[in-house]
Amino acid sequence: MSIKVRYFASLKELLGRAEDMLEFDQALSVADVWVKATESTVMPDNTLAALNMEYVALDFVVSDGDEVAFFPPVTGGQYD
């Protein structure tokens, strides 16, 4: 099974890449995906995760073909 893992904003800079393809053969949670894809990089505080473009908790289990994304809290535009 395989999934696409994407990183945005400061996480993309931290990891030095925008995405990974991750192969796996047993059930993985979103948190497991981070550990495997980033080779155990410490996840920054307040990191958010999305599964197929919807917010998801880190303990959610992923399926073949999913797209998982990690990113920092969203900050909108500078218009406050």
């Binding site: 994407r6 945005f8 904003a9 400061s10 999305a50 473009m53 919807e54 917010y55 994304a69 990113f71 920092p72 809290p73 969203v74 900050t75 909108g76 535009g77 500078q78 218009y79 406050d80």
Partner: protein, 147 residues
């Protein structure tokens, strides 16, 4: 309607053009509320020369649709137009437009505020500022809209 645009846009002509082609609105709306967000040249005590607005194509639109449909469930709205800029932006550039049409003003005022606040906390946009001296920094948090 929701649009994410990588180039400058003029909010008032967008509203006018949108309204003109919406024949269903004619005679129905008593209130149009517009919020236009513009980039400042300062933030947190520093001069800001420019900014990169990053987004997550696909998810950004999906979450924005969700915010607008939540607003449509809570208030009696006739129509909404949200346009958000992405990419390289500069002070005085328009970054966001939220236009809401309703029969009565209360719904238009309240729904606009809701859409803006939800947009800032739920919709994937991230901003990286270019400061005087060419340092760059990610903006880590939003304000409450008053400070």
């Amino acid at each position: 309607m929701i649009k994410i645009v990588p180039v400058e846009f003029e909010p008032f002509s967008e509203v006018q053009a949108y309204q003109q082609q919406k024949h269903a609105l004619r005679g129905q709306y008593g209130a149009t509320n517009l919020f236009v967000g513009t980039m400042r040249d300062f933030n947190e005590g520093d001069s800001v020369k420019g900014m990169t607005l990053e987004h997550y194509p696909g998810m950004t639109e999906k979450q924005l649709e969700l915010v607008v449909s939540e607003a449509e469930q809570q208030w009696a709205l006739l129509d909404c137009l949200v346009i958000h800029r992405v990419g390289e932006v500069f002070p005085d550039d328009v970054l966001v437009l939220v236009a809401v049409w309703s029969v009565h003003r209360g719904d238009a005022f309240d729904a606009s505020r809701f859409i803006m606040e939800a947009l800032k906390s739920q919709v994937p946009f991230w901003k990286k500022e270019l400061l005087e001296g060419n340092n760059r920094r990610w903006v880590a948090k939003n304000t409450d809209g008053y400070l």
